[in-house]
Protein backbone atom coordinates (compact mmCIF):
# COMPACT_ATOMS: atom_id res chain seq x y z
CA UNK A 1 0.00 0.00 0.00
CA UNK A 2 1.48 3.30 -0.99
CA UNK A 3 1.39 6.38 1.20
CA UNK A 4 -1.02 7.97 -1.24
CA UNK A 5 -3.36 5.00 -1.06
CA UNK A 6 -3.30 5.16 2.71
CA UNK A 7 -3.93 8.86 2.63
CA UNK A 8 -6.94 8.43 0.34
CA UNK A 9 -8.30 5.67 2.55
CA UNK A 10 -7.91 7.92 5.58
CA UNK A 11 -9.70 10.78 3.88
CA UNK A 12 -12.53 8.50 2.86
CA UNK A 13 -12.84 7.26 6.42
CA UNK A 14 -12.85 10.80 7.82
CA UNK A 15 -15.55 11.75 5.36
CA UNK A 16 -17.65 8.82 6.54
CA UNK A 17 -17.23 9.78 10.18
CA UNK A 18 -17.85 13.48 9.61
CA UNK A 19 -19.77 13.77 6.35
CA UNK A 20 -20.28 17.50 6.52
CA UNK A 21 -16.55 18.26 6.54
CA UNK A 22 -13.98 18.52 3.76
CA UNK A 23 -11.10 16.24 4.66
CA UNK A 24 -9.74 16.60 1.11
CA UNK A 25 -8.77 20.15 1.96
CA UNK A 26 -6.59 19.11 4.88
CA UNK A 27 -2.97 20.20 4.62
CA UNK A 28 -0.41 17.60 5.69
CA UNK A 29 0.39 19.50 8.91
CA UNK A 30 -3.14 20.47 9.90
CA UNK A 31 -4.39 19.12 13.20
CA UNK A 32 -7.14 16.85 11.99
CA UNK A 33 -9.46 17.12 14.98
CA UNK A 34 -9.18 20.86 15.25
CA UNK A 35 -9.50 21.47 11.53
CA UNK A 36 -12.52 19.22 11.03
CA UNK A 37 -14.16 19.79 14.38
CA UNK A 38 -14.01 16.15 15.35
CA UNK A 39 -14.79 15.48 18.97
CA UNK A 40 -13.53 12.63 21.11
CA UNK A 41 -16.51 10.52 20.24
CA UNK A 42 -16.00 10.91 16.50
CA UNK A 43 -12.29 10.38 16.95
CA UNK A 44 -12.86 7.12 18.74
CA UNK A 45 -15.11 5.97 15.91
CA UNK A 46 -12.38 6.94 13.49
CA UNK A 47 -9.73 4.96 15.34
CA UNK A 48 -12.04 1.96 15.52
CA UNK A 49 -12.57 2.16 11.78
CA UNK A 50 -8.85 2.52 11.07
CA UNK A 51 -7.98 -0.45 13.17
CA UNK A 52 -10.55 -2.55 11.40
CA UNK A 53 -9.64 -1.41 7.92
CA UNK A 54 -5.89 -1.73 8.25
CA UNK A 55 -5.80 -4.53 10.79
CA UNK A 56 -3.77 -2.54 13.28
CA UNK A 57 -3.98 -1.75 16.99
CA UNK A 58 -3.85 1.86 18.09
CA UNK A 59 -3.34 2.22 21.84
CA UNK A 60 -4.74 5.27 23.57
CA UNK A 61 -1.30 6.61 24.46
CA UNK A 62 -0.48 6.89 20.75
CA UNK A 63 -3.31 9.32 20.07
CA UNK A 64 -0.93 12.23 20.64
CA UNK A 65 1.36 10.98 17.87
CA UNK A 66 -1.21 11.02 15.14
CA UNK A 67 -2.67 14.46 15.13
CA UNK A 68 -1.94 15.47 11.54
CA UNK A 69 -2.59 13.79 8.24
CA UNK A 70 1.14 13.45 7.70
CA UNK A 71 1.67 11.78 11.08
CA UNK A 72 -1.32 9.56 10.63
CA UNK A 73 -0.31 8.40 7.17
CA UNK A 74 3.16 7.51 8.40
CA UNK A 75 1.82 5.85 11.55
CA UNK A 76 -0.54 3.64 9.59
CA UNK A 77 2.05 3.01 6.87
CA UNK A 78 4.52 1.71 9.43
CA UNK A 79 2.03 -0.75 10.89
CA UNK A 80 -0.06 -1.91 7.99
CA UNK A 81 0.79 -5.39 6.76
CA UNK A 82 2.07 -5.86 3.27
Amino acid sequence: MTAEEIKQALLLRLKTIAPDTEPAQLQPDDNIREKLGIDSFDYLQFIVALDEQFGIQTPEEDYGKIQTLQELTEYVGARVKG
Binding site: P19, T21, G37, D39, S40, L44
Partner: protein, 436 residues
Protein backbone atom coordinates in the same frame (compact mmCIF):
# COMPACT_ATOMS: atom_id res chain seq x y z
CA UNK B 1 -60.52 2.28 21.78
CA UNK B 2 -57.38 4.08 22.75
CA UNK B 3 -56.44 7.36 21.21
CA UNK B 4 -52.98 8.00 19.87
CA UNK B 5 -52.22 11.68 19.73
CA UNK B 6 -49.32 13.64 18.31
CA UNK B 7 -46.72 13.69 21.06
CA UNK B 8 -44.86 16.80 22.06
CA UNK B 9 -41.23 16.37 21.12
CA UNK B 10 -40.02 19.39 22.99
CA UNK B 11 -41.26 22.57 24.57
CA UNK B 12 -40.59 24.35 21.32
CA UNK B 13 -42.73 22.03 19.21
CA UNK B 14 -46.13 23.11 17.97
CA UNK B 15 -46.65 20.62 15.21
CA UNK B 16 -44.92 18.26 12.86
CA UNK B 17 -45.46 16.84 9.40
CA UNK B 18 -46.43 13.21 9.22
CA UNK B 19 -44.02 11.74 6.68
CA UNK B 20 -44.67 8.04 6.90
CA UNK B 21 -46.91 5.56 8.64
CA UNK B 22 -45.06 2.39 9.61
CA UNK B 23 -48.32 0.64 10.41
CA UNK B 24 -51.68 0.08 8.80
CA UNK B 25 -55.07 -0.72 10.27
CA UNK B 26 -55.06 -4.22 11.69
CA UNK B 27 -51.36 -4.27 12.56
CA UNK B 28 -50.51 -5.57 16.00
CA UNK B 29 -48.37 -3.18 17.97
CA UNK B 30 -46.47 -3.27 21.21
CA UNK B 31 -45.58 -0.42 23.51
CA UNK B 32 -42.43 1.24 22.20
CA UNK B 33 -42.96 0.22 18.57
CA UNK B 34 -42.25 2.89 16.02
CA UNK B 35 -45.49 3.57 14.18
CA UNK B 36 -44.70 6.69 12.23
CA UNK B 37 -42.11 9.19 11.13
CA UNK B 38 -42.78 12.82 11.88
CA UNK B 39 -40.74 15.68 10.57
CA UNK B 40 -40.03 18.45 13.02
CA UNK B 41 -37.60 21.29 13.19
CA UNK B 42 -35.18 18.75 14.55
CA UNK B 43 -35.45 16.37 11.69
CA UNK B 44 -37.42 13.21 11.14
CA UNK B 45 -38.40 11.67 14.41
CA UNK B 46 -39.52 8.08 14.83
CA UNK B 47 -42.73 8.15 16.81
CA UNK B 48 -43.35 5.37 19.29
CA UNK B 49 -46.62 4.09 20.72
CA UNK B 50 -47.35 3.90 24.39
CA UNK B 51 -49.78 1.02 24.38
CA UNK B 52 -50.11 -2.54 23.19
CA UNK B 53 -52.94 -3.32 20.84
CA UNK B 54 -54.05 -3.27 17.25
CA UNK B 55 -54.06 -0.26 14.99
CA UNK B 56 -57.71 0.61 14.43
CA UNK B 57 -57.73 3.63 12.24
CA UNK B 58 -55.19 6.09 10.91
CA UNK B 59 -56.69 9.55 11.07
CA UNK B 60 -53.88 11.61 9.64
CA UNK B 61 -52.66 11.51 6.08
CA UNK B 62 -49.04 11.42 5.10
CA UNK B 63 -47.59 14.90 4.63
CA UNK B 64 -50.26 16.53 6.73
CA UNK B 65 -49.19 19.10 9.28
CA UNK B 66 -50.20 17.74 12.65
CA UNK B 67 -50.36 19.99 15.71
CA UNK B 68 -49.26 18.52 19.02
CA UNK B 69 -52.20 16.77 20.64
CA UNK B 70 -54.01 15.98 17.41
CA UNK B 71 -55.61 12.58 17.29
CA UNK B 72 -53.52 10.53 14.87
CA UNK B 73 -54.75 7.00 15.23
CA UNK B 74 -57.15 4.79 17.10
CA UNK B 75 -55.71 1.77 18.83
CA UNK B 76 -57.80 -1.22 19.80
CA UNK B 77 -56.62 -2.60 23.11
CA UNK B 78 -55.78 -6.32 23.26
CA UNK B 79 -58.92 -8.46 23.46
CA UNK B 80 -61.13 -5.93 21.76
CA UNK B 81 -60.52 -7.09 18.22
CA UNK B 82 -62.95 -7.55 15.41
CA UNK B 83 -64.05 -4.24 14.08
CA UNK B 84 -61.06 -3.83 11.89
CA UNK B 85 -62.09 -6.36 9.28
CA UNK B 86 -65.44 -4.70 8.85
CA UNK B 87 -63.94 -1.30 8.18
CA UNK B 88 -60.74 -1.85 6.36
CA UNK B 89 -60.84 1.49 4.56
CA UNK B 90 -60.97 3.78 7.51
CA UNK B 91 -57.55 5.15 6.86
CA UNK B 92 -59.11 7.22 4.14
CA UNK B 93 -60.91 9.31 6.70
CA UNK B 94 -59.57 12.82 6.96
CA UNK B 95 -57.80 13.97 10.03
CA UNK B 96 -60.33 15.23 12.45
CA UNK B 97 -60.64 15.31 16.14
CA UNK B 98 -63.52 12.95 16.58
CA UNK B 99 -66.49 14.12 18.49
CA UNK B 100 -68.52 11.92 20.70
CA UNK B 101 -70.70 11.13 17.72
CA UNK B 102 -67.78 10.04 15.63
CA UNK B 103 -66.42 7.89 18.37
CA UNK B 104 -69.83 6.42 18.68
CA UNK B 105 -69.78 5.17 15.14
CA UNK B 106 -66.32 3.84 15.56
CA UNK B 107 -67.47 1.88 18.54
CA UNK B 108 -70.80 0.65 17.22
CA UNK B 109 -72.16 -0.57 13.93
CA UNK B 110 -69.95 0.77 11.18
CA UNK B 111 -71.98 2.54 8.51
CA UNK B 112 -71.01 2.16 4.88
CA UNK B 113 -67.76 3.70 3.83
CA UNK B 114 -69.00 6.72 1.94
CA UNK B 115 -71.31 7.86 4.68
CA UNK B 116 -68.54 7.60 7.14
CA UNK B 117 -66.16 9.72 5.18
CA UNK B 118 -68.86 12.32 4.78
CA UNK B 119 -69.68 12.21 8.45
CA UNK B 120 -66.08 12.69 9.37
CA UNK B 121 -65.79 15.61 7.03
CA UNK B 122 -68.72 17.33 8.64
CA UNK B 123 -67.03 17.19 11.95
CA UNK B 124 -64.73 19.96 10.89
CA UNK B 125 -66.75 22.90 12.06
CA UNK B 126 -65.41 25.79 10.08
CA UNK B 127 -66.83 28.89 8.48
CA UNK B 128 -66.96 28.86 4.69
CA UNK B 129 -64.48 31.72 4.66
CA UNK B 130 -62.08 29.86 6.94
CA UNK B 131 -62.32 26.80 4.71
CA UNK B 132 -61.72 28.85 1.61
CA UNK B 133 -58.65 30.60 3.00
CA UNK B 134 -57.26 27.34 4.34
CA UNK B 135 -57.68 25.75 0.94
CA UNK B 136 -56.06 28.68 -0.82
CA UNK B 137 -53.12 28.54 1.54
CA UNK B 138 -52.86 24.77 1.37
CA UNK B 139 -53.55 24.25 5.04
CA UNK B 140 -55.51 21.26 6.23
CA UNK B 141 -58.46 22.81 8.01
CA UNK B 142 -58.70 19.81 10.28
CA UNK B 143 -55.40 20.70 11.86
CA UNK B 144 -56.60 24.09 13.02
CA UNK B 145 -58.04 24.78 16.42
CA UNK B 146 -61.33 26.64 16.28
CA UNK B 147 -62.16 29.56 18.56
CA UNK B 148 -65.37 30.70 16.90
CA UNK B 149 -68.97 30.13 17.94
CA UNK B 150 -69.35 26.62 19.30
CA UNK B 151 -65.70 25.96 18.58
CA UNK B 152 -65.99 26.55 14.86
CA UNK B 153 -62.85 27.41 12.95
CA UNK B 154 -63.08 31.00 11.74
CA UNK B 155 -60.94 33.22 9.57
CA UNK B 156 -58.88 34.43 12.53
CA UNK B 157 -57.93 30.86 13.42
CA UNK B 158 -56.73 30.15 9.91
CA UNK B 159 -54.78 33.37 9.81
CA UNK B 160 -53.14 32.44 13.10
CA UNK B 161 -52.26 29.07 11.69
CA UNK B 162 -50.73 30.70 8.64
CA UNK B 163 -48.71 33.06 10.81
CA UNK B 164 -47.61 30.21 13.01
CA UNK B 165 -46.49 28.28 9.98
CA UNK B 166 -44.41 31.13 8.66
CA UNK B 167 -42.82 32.02 11.97
CA UNK B 168 -43.18 29.31 14.56
CA UNK B 169 -43.64 30.84 17.97
CA UNK B 170 -43.25 28.26 20.65
CA UNK B 171 -45.68 28.35 23.48
CA UNK B 172 -45.34 26.43 26.64
CA UNK B 173 -47.41 23.36 26.03
CA UNK B 174 -48.72 21.93 29.20
CA UNK B 175 -47.01 18.66 28.73
CA UNK B 176 -43.88 20.25 27.46
CA UNK B 177 -41.07 17.89 26.92
CA UNK B 178 -37.43 18.65 26.60
CA UNK B 179 -35.31 18.30 23.58
CA UNK B 180 -32.53 20.61 22.57
CA UNK B 181 -30.95 22.56 25.32
CA UNK B 182 -28.59 25.16 26.19
CA UNK B 183 -25.19 26.42 26.69
CA UNK B 184 -23.43 24.59 23.92
CA UNK B 185 -22.39 26.90 21.18
CA UNK B 186 -22.38 25.23 17.80
CA UNK B 187 -19.31 23.22 17.07
CA UNK B 188 -16.55 25.69 16.37
CA UNK B 189 -15.67 24.56 12.89
CA UNK B 190 -19.07 24.67 11.37
CA UNK B 191 -19.15 28.15 10.00
CA UNK B 192 -15.99 27.93 7.95
CA UNK B 193 -17.04 24.88 6.06
CA UNK B 194 -18.48 25.31 2.60
CA UNK B 195 -21.46 23.04 2.44
CA UNK B 196 -21.41 20.96 -0.76
CA UNK B 197 -19.08 18.00 -0.64
CA UNK B 198 -17.71 18.84 -4.05
CA UNK B 199 -14.61 16.74 -4.53
CA UNK B 200 -15.29 14.64 -1.51
CA UNK B 201 -13.43 11.37 -1.62
CA UNK B 202 -16.65 9.47 -2.20
CA UNK B 203 -18.65 8.26 0.83
CA UNK B 204 -22.28 9.31 0.88
CA UNK B 205 -22.67 12.37 3.03
CA UNK B 206 -25.20 10.75 5.31
CA UNK B 207 -25.72 13.69 7.56
CA UNK B 208 -26.16 16.13 4.75
CA UNK B 209 -28.47 13.80 2.92
CA UNK B 210 -30.50 13.26 6.01
CA UNK B 211 -30.97 16.95 6.47
CA UNK B 212 -31.99 17.49 2.93
CA UNK B 213 -34.40 14.63 3.18
CA UNK B 214 -35.91 15.74 6.46
CA UNK B 215 -36.09 19.38 5.66
CA UNK B 216 -34.52 20.12 9.01
CA UNK B 217 -31.89 22.67 8.23
CA UNK B 218 -29.30 24.36 10.33
CA UNK B 219 -31.71 27.25 10.29
CA UNK B 220 -34.73 25.42 11.63
CA UNK B 221 -32.63 23.76 14.31
CA UNK B 222 -31.25 27.17 15.15
CA UNK B 223 -34.79 28.50 15.48
CA UNK B 224 -35.79 25.63 17.73
CA UNK B 225 -32.82 26.23 20.00
CA UNK B 226 -33.49 29.95 19.96
CA UNK B 227 -37.09 29.52 20.98
CA UNK B 228 -36.34 27.14 23.82
CA UNK B 229 -33.49 29.21 25.15
CA UNK B 230 -35.43 32.45 24.96
CA UNK B 231 -38.23 30.90 26.92
CA UNK B 232 -35.75 29.62 29.47
CA UNK B 233 -34.06 32.93 29.92
CA UNK B 234 -37.40 34.69 30.12
CA UNK B 235 -39.04 32.42 32.64
CA UNK B 236 -36.41 30.60 34.65
CA UNK B 237 -34.53 32.38 37.42
CA UNK B 238 -31.21 30.61 37.14
CA UNK B 239 -28.63 30.24 39.86
CA UNK B 240 -25.13 28.99 39.15
CA UNK B 241 -22.68 26.94 41.16
CA UNK B 242 -19.22 25.83 40.21
CA UNK B 243 -16.74 23.36 41.57
CA UNK B 244 -13.32 22.09 40.51
CA UNK B 245 -12.79 18.36 40.51
CA UNK B 246 -9.52 16.49 40.73
CA UNK B 247 -9.69 13.95 37.91
CA UNK B 248 -6.40 12.19 38.56
CA UNK B 249 -7.93 8.97 39.81
CA UNK B 250 -10.66 8.96 37.25
CA UNK B 251 -8.32 9.54 34.32
CA UNK B 252 -5.80 7.01 35.58
CA UNK B 253 -8.51 4.42 36.02
CA UNK B 254 -9.84 5.15 32.57
CA UNK B 255 -6.41 4.88 30.91
CA UNK B 256 -5.75 1.61 32.66
CA UNK B 257 -9.15 0.23 31.74
CA UNK B 258 -8.89 1.25 28.11
CA UNK B 259 -5.41 -0.22 27.79
CA UNK B 260 -6.84 -3.64 28.46
CA UNK B 261 -9.64 -3.27 25.99
CA UNK B 262 -9.81 -3.49 22.24
CA UNK B 263 -10.33 -0.12 20.69
CA UNK B 264 -14.00 -0.87 20.08
CA UNK B 265 -14.71 -1.23 23.76
CA UNK B 266 -12.81 1.79 24.98
CA UNK B 267 -14.58 4.27 27.19
CA UNK B 268 -14.59 8.05 26.92
CA UNK B 269 -14.38 10.31 29.96
CA UNK B 270 -17.91 11.41 29.20
CA UNK B 271 -19.40 8.15 30.44
CA UNK B 272 -17.71 8.60 33.83
CA UNK B 273 -19.21 12.07 34.07
CA UNK B 274 -22.65 10.87 33.04
CA UNK B 275 -22.62 8.04 35.53
CA UNK B 276 -21.47 10.37 38.30
CA UNK B 277 -24.29 12.75 37.47
CA UNK B 278 -26.82 9.93 37.46
CA UNK B 279 -25.69 8.66 40.83
CA UNK B 280 -25.63 12.14 42.30
CA UNK B 281 -29.22 12.63 41.11
CA UNK B 282 -30.23 9.58 43.14
CA UNK B 283 -29.03 11.47 46.17
CA UNK B 284 -30.50 14.82 45.15
CA UNK B 285 -33.69 13.92 43.30
CA UNK B 286 -35.06 17.47 43.33
CA UNK B 287 -32.79 18.25 40.38
CA UNK B 288 -34.13 15.34 38.34
CA UNK B 289 -37.43 17.07 37.72
CA UNK B 290 -39.61 19.31 35.65
CA UNK B 291 -41.11 22.59 36.73
CA UNK B 292 -44.75 22.51 35.74
CA UNK B 293 -47.05 24.23 38.19
CA UNK B 294 -44.54 23.36 40.83
CA UNK B 295 -41.73 20.88 41.12
CA UNK B 296 -42.51 17.51 39.54
CA UNK B 297 -39.85 14.97 40.45
CA UNK B 298 -39.28 12.38 37.77
CA UNK B 299 -38.91 8.73 38.75
CA UNK B 300 -36.54 7.82 35.90
CA UNK B 301 -33.19 9.52 35.43
CA UNK B 302 -33.03 10.37 31.74
CA UNK B 303 -30.03 12.49 31.01
CA UNK B 304 -30.22 14.68 27.94
CA UNK B 305 -26.76 14.75 26.43
CA UNK B 306 -25.91 17.70 24.25
CA UNK B 307 -24.60 16.76 20.82
CA UNK B 308 -23.27 19.73 18.88
CA UNK B 309 -23.89 19.64 15.16
CA UNK B 310 -21.02 20.76 13.01
CA UNK B 311 -23.30 22.94 10.95
CA UNK B 312 -24.53 24.69 14.06
CA UNK B 313 -27.26 23.91 16.51
CA UNK B 314 -27.51 21.07 18.93
CA UNK B 315 -29.49 17.89 19.44
CA UNK B 316 -30.10 16.56 22.92
CA UNK B 317 -31.01 12.89 22.93
CA UNK B 318 -32.02 11.37 26.24
CA UNK B 319 -29.99 8.59 27.80
CA UNK B 320 -32.77 6.64 29.49
CA UNK B 321 -32.34 5.29 33.01
CA UNK B 322 -28.75 6.43 33.15
CA UNK B 323 -28.40 5.45 36.80
CA UNK B 324 -29.19 1.82 35.99
CA UNK B 325 -26.72 1.57 33.12
CA UNK B 326 -23.16 0.34 33.56
CA UNK B 327 -20.32 2.37 32.10
CA UNK B 328 -20.18 -0.02 29.16
CA UNK B 329 -23.89 0.32 28.59
CA UNK B 330 -23.60 4.08 28.74
CA UNK B 331 -20.83 3.94 26.15
CA UNK B 332 -22.96 1.71 23.92
CA UNK B 333 -25.83 4.12 24.29
CA UNK B 334 -23.63 7.01 23.22
CA UNK B 335 -22.35 4.97 20.28
CA UNK B 336 -25.93 4.53 19.21
CA UNK B 337 -27.29 7.96 20.02
CA UNK B 338 -24.64 10.36 18.82
CA UNK B 339 -24.50 9.28 15.17
CA UNK B 340 -28.31 9.24 15.02
CA UNK B 341 -28.46 12.66 16.61
CA UNK B 342 -26.02 13.94 14.03
CA UNK B 343 -28.07 12.36 11.26
CA UNK B 344 -31.24 13.84 12.78
CA UNK B 345 -32.72 10.40 13.25
CA UNK B 346 -33.86 10.31 16.84
CA UNK B 347 -36.89 8.64 18.34
CA UNK B 348 -39.68 10.57 19.97
CA UNK B 349 -38.90 9.26 23.45
CA UNK B 350 -35.29 10.30 23.05
CA UNK B 351 -36.36 13.85 22.35
CA UNK B 352 -39.08 14.10 24.90
CA UNK B 353 -38.01 12.31 28.02
CA UNK B 354 -34.97 14.13 29.37
CA UNK B 355 -35.15 15.04 33.02
CA UNK B 356 -31.87 16.94 33.19
CA UNK B 357 -29.26 18.02 30.67
CA UNK B 358 -25.53 17.47 30.59
CA UNK B 359 -23.33 19.48 28.29
CA UNK B 360 -19.65 18.76 27.96
CA UNK B 361 -17.70 21.49 26.27
CA UNK B 362 -14.23 20.59 27.29
CA UNK B 363 -13.10 19.63 23.82
CA UNK B 364 -13.52 23.14 22.58
CA UNK B 365 -10.94 24.18 25.11
CA UNK B 366 -13.14 26.01 27.60
CA UNK B 367 -12.85 25.48 31.32
CA UNK B 368 -16.24 26.56 32.58
CA UNK B 369 -19.77 26.28 31.23
CA UNK B 370 -22.56 28.61 32.35
CA UNK B 371 -25.59 26.80 31.10
CA UNK B 372 -29.12 27.72 30.15
CA UNK B 373 -31.69 25.25 31.42
CA UNK B 374 -33.88 23.49 28.92
CA UNK B 375 -37.46 24.00 30.07
CA UNK B 376 -39.29 22.39 31.76
CA UNK B 377 -36.21 20.81 33.29
CA UNK B 378 -34.81 22.44 36.39
CA UNK B 379 -31.10 21.83 36.04
CA UNK B 380 -28.23 21.65 33.62
CA UNK B 381 -24.78 20.32 34.39
CA UNK B 382 -21.85 21.74 32.47
CA UNK B 383 -18.42 20.19 32.18
CA UNK B 384 -15.41 22.06 30.92
CA UNK B 385 -12.20 20.57 29.66
CA UNK B 386 -9.87 18.48 31.79
CA UNK B 387 -6.64 20.44 32.04
CA UNK B 388 -3.51 20.12 34.14
CA UNK B 389 -3.62 22.65 36.93
CA UNK B 390 -1.89 23.30 40.23
CA UNK B 391 -3.73 21.55 43.01
CA UNK B 392 -3.23 21.56 46.75
CA UNK B 393 -4.06 18.62 48.96
CA UNK B 394 -3.04 18.14 52.57
CA UNK B 395 -0.85 21.21 52.36
CA UNK B 396 1.04 19.89 49.36
CA UNK B 397 1.11 21.44 45.91
CA UNK B 398 0.74 19.13 42.95
CA UNK B 399 -0.26 19.22 39.29
CA UNK B 400 -3.48 17.36 38.58
CA UNK B 401 -5.92 16.95 35.71
CA UNK B 402 -8.72 19.24 36.83
CA UNK B 403 -12.29 19.42 35.63
CA UNK B 404 -14.59 22.36 36.30
CA UNK B 405 -18.19 21.28 36.81
CA UNK B 406 -21.00 23.79 36.96
CA UNK B 407 -24.65 23.62 37.77
CA UNK B 408 -27.26 25.93 36.35
CA UNK B 409 -30.44 25.37 38.32
CA UNK B 410 -33.94 26.78 38.52
CA UNK B 411 -34.27 28.82 41.68
CA UNK B 412 -38.02 28.35 41.66
CA UNK B 413 -37.43 24.65 42.10
CA UNK B 414 -34.39 24.39 44.32
CA UNK B 415 -31.97 26.50 46.33
CA UNK B 416 -28.21 26.77 46.38
CA UNK B 417 -27.76 24.24 49.17
CA UNK B 418 -29.47 21.59 47.04
CA UNK B 419 -27.25 22.39 44.10
CA UNK B 420 -24.20 22.36 46.31
CA UNK B 421 -24.98 18.89 47.64
CA UNK B 422 -25.41 17.72 44.08
CA UNK B 423 -22.09 19.04 42.77
CA UNK B 424 -20.31 17.69 45.82
CA UNK B 425 -21.83 14.29 45.20
CA UNK B 426 -20.58 14.32 41.61
CA UNK B 427 -17.14 15.26 42.84
CA UNK B 428 -17.11 12.42 45.34
CA UNK B 429 -18.23 9.82 42.82
CA UNK B 430 -15.45 10.83 40.47
CA UNK B 431 -12.92 10.09 43.17
CA UNK B 432 -13.93 6.46 43.11
CA UNK B 433 -14.18 5.66 39.42
CA UNK B 434 -13.96 1.94 39.96
CA UNK B 435 -17.26 2.04 41.79
CA UNK B 436 -19.12 3.94 39.14
Amino acid sequence: MLEYRMPSLGADMESGFLREWHVKPGDKIKKGDIIAEVETQKGIIDIEVFDDGTIGELLVQVDEKVPVGTLMAMIIPPGEDGEIKETPQKSAAPATTPTAAEEAWIATEPPPMAEKAAAAEHHVRASPLAKRIAEEKGIDIATIHGTGPEGAIIREDVEHAITARVAPVPEAPKEAAPAPPPASPPAPVAAEKPAPPAQAPAAPAEEEKARQATGASAETIRMAVAAAMSKSNREIPHYYLETRIDMRRAMAWLAETNKQRPVKERLLPAVLLLKAVAKALNEVPDLNAWWENGLQRKPAINIGYVVALRTGGIMVPAIHDADNKSLDELMQTLNDLIPRARALRLRSSELADSTITVTSLGEGGVETVFGVIYPPQVALVGFGGITDQPWTENGMLDVRPVLTATLAADHRATDGSTGSRFLTAIKNYLQQPEKL
